[in-house]
């Protein structure tokens, strides 16, 4: 008798059996539970109308994160607490401060995107005592509104702090000074989740489809070896679309999310070792610590809810030529640890990609971790994404420059590029043009010309090949302007632009 999926829905325990594991959380909420407050706007995690908040046991209390219900597969919620807009009203029936603020600020017009905004704001309410405009934008990066122009929603994000705080699990997660506050009710939910925890993982079957979520890396290795044709799924931020957009039956699914040891991020002698199941959000936070120059690239990576569900291992293993983590990781000399059964091997990340959507993974093998070596002295590091929109877009071009400078020369150069080749790729000719040269305007210009011609990208709806080449060259020029002796303002988002006299 297979185990049911068990989780908390708006604080109440639920058990689910008989439902196909590739059922999305959104479909289950709307069609099985008739909780229709959560909406489908796009079914691909791009509009945020389906945003819910998922909490899981963290270090203290719960870890609250926004999630796109439309592409989140139901069994991946096992052992977690799901909160939807219907659960947000307070015990006395009054609106939650987030909801009340949205009403007071006229934050809804047609109202269809509103539950998603409310839940993203609730996630923010739980995670920070106050938020700057940029932090609010980041929290809302996965939510589209077509009516309001966002101004009243931004106002609500401030107003919600001025209203009397909610109580219980709905209470703000941090005190005014930023310290974590944990309401007893939240503690109780954490305990309930503790009771739901399954150290051995989940082996679920529904409607003839199997979901294997091993409890640790060794068990995962065994499952992958035993079912080499199964689809490995982590946060389902891409796999979810195979269900909702391609209407594919996925067969047996092996889920990495229950293997907690695979989500660990550790500092080792070899560098930062990021377990493949670590969320993008956690991985980027760790990388931010060592490589703060990359923060903007991570901020522009998909959206807050996608970064909460998606994993770094998934982005790397999926091998999309427009994945944004790989060019940066390649520039940072990252290595990827692959595992098949008990056998492990390590590859430089750039050697992991063989051809369009083809990686070095063998049958039954999986990405176990990504290791980023420590940074050297005098590293000039930048990563830039160019896309039609700042938030939640796919790169027309992405470039990460890692120049090791020494004595006014480029001791070594690594440039990782995305969006310009069938695979994430190093710009080796450009690197060669920099290697050993004095770090000067002339060198940078030669490198810019080399980089503009290095790849033969394609024309598509995101950009023309000509633009991609030209802009890569210009990003090299920008690197010189920022990292050389120039003092020019180089970014439309620089404070020097927004604070210029007017």
């Amino acid at each position: 008798m297979p185990e049911p999926i068990r989780f908390l829905l708006n604080g109440e325990p639920v058990e689910v059996a008989g439902v196909a594991p590739q059922t999305t959380l959104l479909e289950w909420l709307r069609e099985h539970r008739r909780l229709t407050g959560t909406k489908e706007g796009c079914a691909e995690g791009d509009c945020g109308a389906c945003t819910v908040v998922v909490a899981e046991a963290g270090g203290a209390g719960l870890d609250w994160r926004p999630v796109n219900a439309c592409i989140r597969l139901l069994p991946s919620l096992d052992g977690k607490a799901v909160f939807t807009v219907e659960g947000l009203r307070q015990r006395d029936g009054s609106l939650h401060p987030v909801q009340q603020a949205m009403v007071e600020c006229h934050g809804s017009q047609c109202g269809f995107c509103t539950p998603g905004f409310v839940m993203s704001l609730f996630g923010l309410y739980k995670s920070a005592p106050a938020a700057t405009r940029a932090e609010v934008d980041d929290a809302l990066s996965g939510n589209l509104c077509r009516c309001t122009g966002y101004r009243p929603i931004l106002a609500a994000a401030q107003r919600m702090r001025e209203l009397p705080a909610a109580a219980g699990w709905r209470a703000p997660g941090r005190a005014a000074d930023g310290t974590r506050t944990i309401d007893p009710e939240e503690e109780q939910i954490a305990q309930q989740l503790g009771a739901l925890a399954r150290p051995g993982g989940l082996d679920y079957e529904g409607a003839g489809q199997r979901w294997i979520a091993p409890g640790d890396e060794d068990a995962l290795a065994a499952a992958c070896a035993a079912y080499p044709d199964a689809t490995i799924v982590a946060g389902a931020t891409d796999v979810g679309l195979w269900v909702t957009k391609q209407h594919r039956g996925l067969g047996t699914l092996i889920h990495t999310g229950a293997a907690r040891d695979l989500a660990r991020i550790e500092r080792t002698e070899a560098g930062l070792a990021i377990g493949a199941a670590a969320s993008l959000a956690d991985a980027f936070a760790a990388l931010d610590n060592d490589f703060p120059e990359l923060h903007e690239a991570w901020e522009r990576f998909a959206s807050a809810p996608i970064r909460a569900s998606g994993t770094l291992g998934g982005n790397v293993a999926n091998g999309s030529p427009i994945g944004d983590s790989m060019p940066a990781l390649i520039a940072l000399r990252a290595e990827v640890v692959l595992r098949r059964g008990d056998a492990k091997r390590t590859l430089p990340l750039e050697d992991f990609y063989l051809a369009y959507r083809k990686t070095a993974l063998a049958r039954g093998e999986f990405v176990a971790r990504i290791v980023v070596p420590p940074r050297g002295e005098q590293l000039l590091l930048r990563a830039w994404k160019v896309s039609k929109r700042y938030d939640q877009d796919i790169s027309a071009a992405f470039a990460c420059f890692a120049l090791q400078l020494a004595g006014g020369r480029v001791a070594s150069a690594r440039i990782g590029c995305g969006g310009v080749a069938p695979i994430p790729a190093r710009a080796r000719r450009t690197e060669a043009a920099l290697q050993g040269q004095p770090w000067s305007a002339a060198t940078a210009e030669r490198a810019a010309q080399a980089l503009a011609a290095e790849f033969t990208p394609i024309d598509d709806m995101r950009a023309s090949a000509a633009y991609r080449g030209r802009v890569l060259g210009n990003l090299m020029r920008r690197l010189w302007l920022e990292g050389g002796d120039g003092r020019a303002v180089t970014r439309v988002h620089d404070a020097a632009v927004s604070e210029a006299p007017r």
């Binding site: 109202g111 934008d137 909702t244 439309v492 988002h493």
Partner: protein
């Protein structure tokens, strides 16, 4: 009686949207949220994979055999008329004989679940003999391919005036289409009635038209079909005509199977199979004097209409009507080409051609200014309409309410436009990579449907014997706040608190033959109709109270839920109750027809508009000359809403319209490949603004003057006009690009001004500057 309602501020206050609390708590029900009748079927469409071809057949064996499939229909299965064309009859529900665009519905399948229907729809095998496809405006112009004949409007002798002018220039600029991207996609639920009728719940701006289309498709009289819509998750024009096809398909299945049938498009099908804003190519030949005053203008507006007419006639008419924007064009010739292409049939979208017409003339202003090395604001200002002379539009309507000159002057002052322009120019000289730009542009937008017969509305108001009120009118709620505003009108007329008035779903069985909620007209029309109904009720109640309390009816006052009659004051509920017992009718219909308007559809002359709504905006942007990346930094808006019915809602329309306009002009790019397939059919590839795109510095003020025409409490329509304020941001981008050639040359920059187009414009301008 209190005739102006001045003591009752309810209709002028920023009360929250009537559904705000339902929105934020997830309880507001949209069509897809309604409980489904037992056994409801789910429908998916099979879409043409070919842009143009002879449809020899479609093999549906695998579709029929797929799990869960209950029924499949093709064109021949339409029991009535296979057409949903709103004006011309050229819009088949399902393709018949020929497919006209990639994405055209060819068949439909009904199954027991959404997933089963969508999976089955992919199993068809099409037998289509490809025919040559016309995909672009240029190809259509070359081939003389039009959905409707070209229209020419002229005054004086443009050619002679241009030839005689001290300066002359000509050029071309393009503006792209735009997907509505309403967050709630198209959805219809058809429920068969016991007597052979049909009840359709759907997301539509025009329930009355859906009713007629469903009736025609089923071969039923109109009274057999009821269409209902409580709210839409956004419309923006995309649900003015586009719902008809989907409602008809759902209703056909409901008729055939006797089961309820629901068709909810997924986002990709919605974007591929529904019309968008018309893309335009604008060509101009202009003669002007040393001050930039336009002496003669020859303007060609060619639009991509797609394969059928839909609303392209009135949309292109409105483009012609707004090709003057706020400017006097003495000798002028405007040529409008409505190009037929093998693409989805384009449709209404906020502004309805007005934005494209204004786009053209604002580009001309910019070109003229650069050619003279003048501040574009000066050129715009000298060309503004006068108030008593130089005030007749190219189509012969006198602009009687022109407030553009003082409005623009006031905005230039409050925004410090001149100082900022100087500061920006100085800043740019020190900034080799990032360039800032600024522009001030006006909006003058004509209010009324150009289809004169649409300028009517009905309302139905019931007073129950407990004093509560049920309000219904022919308008629809798509988020714009119409229901909130009309409810405020009723509260003001009857002297009641808002809580006493319940708004109800748009329903063709309550108000018949209602016009679409479009053309910004919702509050103007339905507010007046509701007022009419309320005044009838109030008149009857006043007479009743006067008889009862022995006073003159005109002295009876309705205030704050209390009725004052002579020395008596009694709660409204008490009066309603005693009126009921005295057999006073407590239900009334209201009606309104816009006065003064008339226009000749063949010559495009007359007075198509009751009045104009005005506004102006100053936008400031930054542009990266290495990547073309850009950012909107600051916006100052001064907009004319007359005496606002609800300042919070009006402000919301201004803000939302502005950012949507910025999306159209600077971000949102629709791409088709060489086979005529839309490649941007989901939010992963089609990028509308996010919260980060809202600028840091925004100031919005209302122009402090009531509507000079007698509209509902002297308010002005606000739905569409603010959209065009974003032209200021587009011209700020052009200004930033122009800085690389020291403002002496006009950039070649089309809309949307994507990063790529901006970078190309910078490069081209630098080359041209060297010549």
């Amino acid at each position: 009686m209190n005739d102006t309602g001045a003591a009752l501020p309810i209709a002028a206050t920023g009360v929250a949207h009537e559904s705000a609390e339902l929105h934020v708590s997830g309880r507001a029900a949209y069509t897809d949220d309604l409980p489904e009748p037992l056994g409801t079927l789910h429908v998916a469409l099979g879409l043409s994979p070919v842009a143009h071809g002879r449809l020899r057949g479609v093999d549906l064996d695998a579709v029929c055999a797929a799990p869960g499939v209950v029924d499949v229909i093709v064109a021949a299965d339409v029991p009535g008329v296979n057409d949903v064309g709103p004006i011309q009859h050229d819009d088949p529900i399902l393709a018949d004989g020929v497919v006209h665009f990639a994405g055209q519905p060819v068949f439909a399948v009904a199954a027991t679940s959404v997933g089963a229907a969508r999976r089955a729809a992919r199993l068809a095998r099409y037998d289509i003999e490809p025919l040559p496809a016309i995909l672009t405006i240029e190809e259509a112009l070359a081939a003389g391919s039009y959905v409707l004949p070209p229209v020419h409007v002229s005054r004086g002798d443009a050619a002679r005036a241009i030839a005689a002018a001290p300066h002359r220039l000509s050029g071309e600029i393009a503006s792209g289409g735009q997907d509505h991207f309403y967050l709630e996609g198209q959805v219809a639920l058809a429920v068969p009635a016991d007597d052979g009728g049909m009840h359709v719940h759907c997301s539509t701006q025009h329930p009355g038209e859906v009713q007629h289309m469903v009736a025609h498709a089923l071969g039923l009289p109109s009274h057999a079909v009821v269409v209902e819509c409580r709210r839409m998750g956004g419309g923006f024009g995309g649900k003015e005509t586009q719902m008809s096809l989907f409602a008809c398909v759902a209703a056909i299945f409901a008729r055939r199977t006797g089961r309820a049938a629901k068709l909810r498009l997924d986002r990709d099908d919605d974007m591929v199979a529904t019309g968008k804003r018309h893309a335009f190519v604008h060509r101009f030949d202009v003669g002007f004097d040393d001050d930039g005053r336009i002496l003669g203008l020859d303007l060609t507006l060619a639009s991509r209409c797609g394969f059928s007419a839909d609303l392209s006639g009135p949309i292109n008419d409105r483009a012609v009507f707004h090709a003057d924007n706020a400017y006097w064009l003495p000798d002028v010739a405007i040529h409008s080409y409505r190009c037929r292409t093998n693409t989805v049939s384009d449709t209404a979208f906020r502004g309805f051609g007005g934005p494209q017409g204004m786009f053209a003339i604002e580009a001309v202003m910019d070109e003229v200014a650069r050619a003279l090395s003048r501040d574009p604001l000066d050129v715009r200002t000298v060309n503004l309409y006068g108030t008593t002379e130089r005030n007749v539009t190219p189509f012969g309507m006198a602009v009687e309410d022109n407030i553009a000159p003082p409005l623009m002057a006031e905005l230039a002052r409050t925004s410090r436009y001149r100082e900022r322009r100087a500061e920006i120019a100085a800043w740019n000289r020190e900034s080799p990579v990032i360039r800032r730009g600024i522009a001030l542009t006006p909006v003058k937008f004509g209010i009324s449907f150009t289809a004169t017969h649409y300028n009517q509305a009905g309302a139905l108001v019931h007073v129950y014997s407990d004093g509560t009120v049920m309000l219904n009118h022919g308008g629809t709620e798509m988020g714009q706040g119409l229901f909130t505003k009309v409810r405020q009108v009723v509260a003001r007329e009857l002297g009641l608190p808002l809580a006493a008035i319940r708004v109800s779903a748009s329903d063709t069985s309550k108000v018949p033959n209602a016009s679409p909620t479009a053309a910004s007209s919702g509050s103007d029309l339905n507010g007046m109709a509701a007022r009419d109904a309320c005044r009838k009720l109030r008149g009857r109640l006043a007479e009743f109270a006067a008889r009862k309390f022995d006073c003159a009816p005109e002295t009876v006052e309705f205030r704050d839920g209390v009725v004052h009659a002579g020395a008596h004051a009694l709660p409204f509920a008490e009066l309603a109750r005693s009126a009921y017992f005295s057999r006073v009718p407590l239900s009334a219909t209201g009606f309104y027809a816009t006065p003064k308007i008339h226009y000749d559809r063949r010559t495009l002359s007359g007075r198509p508009f009751f009045y104009y709504a005005y506004g102006a905006a100053v936008s400031e942007v930054a542009v990266d000359t290495l990547t073309g990346e850009h950012r909107l930094l600051a916006v100052d808006i001064l907009h004319d809403v007359g005496d606002s019915l609800n300042p919070a809602i009006d402000r919301g329309q201004i803000e939302g319209g502005f950012l949507q306009g910025w999306g159209w002009l600077a971000m949102e790019e629709l791409c088709w490949n060489g086979r005529g397939e839309l490649t941007t059919h989901a939010p992963s590839t089609y990028k509308i603004p996010t919260s980060r795109d809202w600028p840091d510095r925004v100031r919005i003020d209302f122009w402090p003057e009531p509507n000079r025409e007698e509209t509902i409490y002297r308010s002005k329509a606000v739905g569409e006009p603010p959209f065009m304020l974003a032209l200021s941001a587009f011209h700020a981008l052009r200004d930033a690009v122009a800085s690389v050639a020291d403002y002496r040359l006009a950039p070649r920059l089309d809309a949307p001004a994507t990063d790529e187009r901006i970078l190309a414009a910078v490069a081209e301008l630098r080359v041209r500057a060297l010549r």
